[in-house]
Symmetry: C3
Subunit: 346 residues, 3 copies
């Protein structure tokens, strides 16, 4: 899927000097029809990103010689159903959420240096646990099929962190890699909450052929109680099908939440069938719990374009009110979601 | 005017797999000096988009084989005189207007599948009546020369609709085509205004050589009274000149508005002379009415670059206060507008 | 550093017609670790643009024949540490500041026509004094090393102006050039502040081989007192080192401010050492004054990529409270700033 825009020097300048210059411009447009229903409301809507987030990416690599390279990655997510863009966060705290609608590089904004020893990134980056929620482990990862364990995250850095420094190791010992990250909350010093939003974490991963696994730990400081996030994920591709799972424990102060997901993906020709079962439970009064069953099919018209459809049901217990985006459901009632869309990578 | 950025696979990957990959990056920068005057105020300003909207476009087509293709079109309008961007709308209702300034794909944000049977689009698209106000029928279409019948639209979907599904037929029977569209307001269910913003419409068009014509009908539901929009347009190019017109009837509840425009375009060498006469009338107290005469000249320095100038006068009656953007005029007084600018397509 | 994306016509169209079509897509990602300290607070943060502003640029030139060309330049600044974008200004007055976060072409948004007689630009452009604060005269120009004389500008057009018309002459008489500019505040007429934000200015510059010098004057009207800005700058490259300075006088009504900076840049191989000493003083009670010493090093990994570090100290007197961005210091106390970052041009 990687494409390079050839960048040639302006006529008259020396060609050799920038022969390796490049910027890759790529992206995704994914829009579907979406029907969601809770016990209280229902909604038929167009929705962006049912199979892959609609996005625009500017990125590139420069060979520095001696096995070193510089790299950057600027990625902006948008809501393709109405043309608006998604929000970023400037300080890794709820107060840092920016207004949505205008374009930002909310999904990634990094510059880095790399070599055989790994990569160092500076900027807004995927946090260590990001990888455990991508399609590598959750075959839906987005839309109505997304594992319910992903819902209601307590930690604002569950997916990304701004103001971060990251080290990503190369694969060693036949498939192991490490990601270590630190991010800053950037509050003025001298107050009780000066450290809020500063945190970090790490990921140990194994990825080799049919087998992949990851374990992550992250902690973001808050005077009111640090937000801690742990996740585990694994996958095994046994040919006719691929099994995967992820699980997480999320807490801040006395509030605790845990979730899990198991999934199966079956490719038949250009069609991919997938199903997942996921759950989430918090320690609030009654121990509210939700479980989701999702079934989906992706029909690949090419390597870049697919038509997809997903049907999913959420069931609540213990007073849970988990529902699909856009609708509400009464405690212990269920919610249904369906989508049918087109996904195009460019 | 179409240009393709060649996208080559990263060196080392198989070239054949993505030989057809492409993204077209194009746009327009159009800025002019603009003088507008009403009976109450006057203003000398720089203005964006006197001849063509300043915009940035990312789009592409992928050949899927078997006569099928996938396509996307992401278009963002901006105010080139100050560098800010234009607003979008998330729900096809006045409440969904987004703040301007930050970039959005406010002008178009679609993904689609096409073939010999036509195209299906999902996303924020040109609504059926859009075509009747483009340069195909109104030779000004923008700036101080824009037909006055375009002013004060009651229907937020007069030009575009978010959350839309559209079918666009190919040309059949020597030039006929159909555009049918449905869009969603996406309000929560169970209230009196749940259906607000949901609507649809269609366009029947004929376009063959010197002759073009279109008829459109659109209706967006509102509990307070559906917004209905009808437009008609036609053009005939008889060689030394091209005649065109459009007309519209716009209503919501008891509020009704109607407008019309007739225009002539005369190309002489690389210069284009154009004139239009347009009017608008609403059924408010006194039947306020405005009429505009516009005269313009476009001098093409190349296929992509032009210098243009327009002079236009609005006359009001019945208590009308129609005036050029940025100024106000007293009832039944006139307003004058002038612009002189540079338009560059890239 | 200039690169062109070759734009080829869609297959089937005539190649010759657009053989010269081009859009250059380029930019910078620059992020560093930044430690700043005042007597009251300190902060460790990630910061964008310590060596060069993080930005995205779309620009191009079209040959119109006969020695004429059309050009456009759209440049958007962003905060690469968190992915948000920077603000623009719609009316050259404090009231026209737009919200940051969403992408705008805040750094430049122009269309122009050029030839052997010079260039005419329309839009949001660098104001005449911009050049005297770039790296041409201030070797830091950004980050903790930026000359202190640049701080606290009274004139919103110190760097850029929206709604502007500019004429830039070619170099004549072996290196002289002129920049003359006019910008509009675009307020409604008929009030005392109608003229606010309207202004203009000019720059006389000499630039030839080792020697460069510039003098600028700008004035923006305000009913409360016009904002006047004068700057002078000079540089001489005597081989092993380059000396440069700039100085400015800034005033609005009775408020006056003056500043100066002297700098030395010493290149040794691919490493650049630089130091500057700068000061600023206002005529408020006590004549508060600040002085900054900055020392920096830039290690170029390639023509496009560098690692840089800067250490700077501000000392205050007369009640001055000048401090580095993000921290505060008590009157007459000092402030310290340090950064270490990666800058990559693409």
């Amino acid at each position: 899927m990687k494409k390079i825009i050839l960048l040639l020097p302006i006529v008259g300048a020396a060609v050799a000097a920038h022969a390796q210059s490049s910027v890759t411009l790529q992206g995704t447009v994914d829009i579907g029809v979406n029907y969601v229903k809770g016990s209280r409301t229902s909604l038929t809507q167009l929705m962006s990103g049912g199979n892959a987030t609609s996005k625009l990416v500017f990125r590139g690599i420069e060979d520095l010689g001696g096995g070193m390279y510089a790299m950057y990655w600027l990625e902006s997510g948008f809501n393709a159903d109405n043309g608006t863009f998604q929000a970023s966060n400037t300080n890794n705290q709820p107060s840092g959420a920016t207004p949505a609608n205008g374009m930002s590089f909310n999904r990634r904004s990094i510059v880095g240096i790399g070599g055989s020893w790994g990569e160092i990134h500076l900027g807004r980056d995927w946090s260590p646990s990001y990888e455990t929620y991508t399609g590598k482990f959750d075959p839906f990862a987005l839309g109505v099929g997304l594992g319910l364990n992903y819902a209601g995250g307590i930690n604002p850095n569950q997916v990304r962190a701004s103001n971060a420094i990251a080290y990503i190791s190369p694969k060693v010992f036949g498939g192991f890699s490490v990601n270590a990250q630190h991010w800053r909350g950037e509050n003025a010093s001298g107050t009780a909450t000066s450290g809020d939003g500063t945190g970090g974490g790490g990921r140990l991963m194994y990825d080799n052929g049919p087998f992949a696994a990851a374990a992550t730990f992250m902690r973001t400081k808050y005077a009111a109680g640090s937000a801690i996030y742990r996740s585990l994920a694994g996958a095994y591709d046994f040919g006719p099908a691929r099994f995967s799972f992820n699980a997480n424990k999320d807490q801040q102060g006395t509030l605790k939440q845990s979730g899990w997901m198991v999934a199966l993906t079956v490719p038949i020709g250009v069609t991919q069938f997938k199903g997942s079962y996921s759950g989430i439970r918090t320690n609030q009064a009654g121990d509210p719990e939700g479980k989701k069953l999702a079934l989906g099919v992706v029909y690949n018209l090419s390597k870049r374009t697919a038509v997809y459809s997903t049907l999913a049901v959420i069931r609540n217990s213990g007073g849970g009110t988990y529902a699909f985006s856009g609708v509400t459901t009464a405690p212990n009632r269920s919610s249904t979601g369906f989508d049918l869309g087109i996904r195009h990578h460019f």
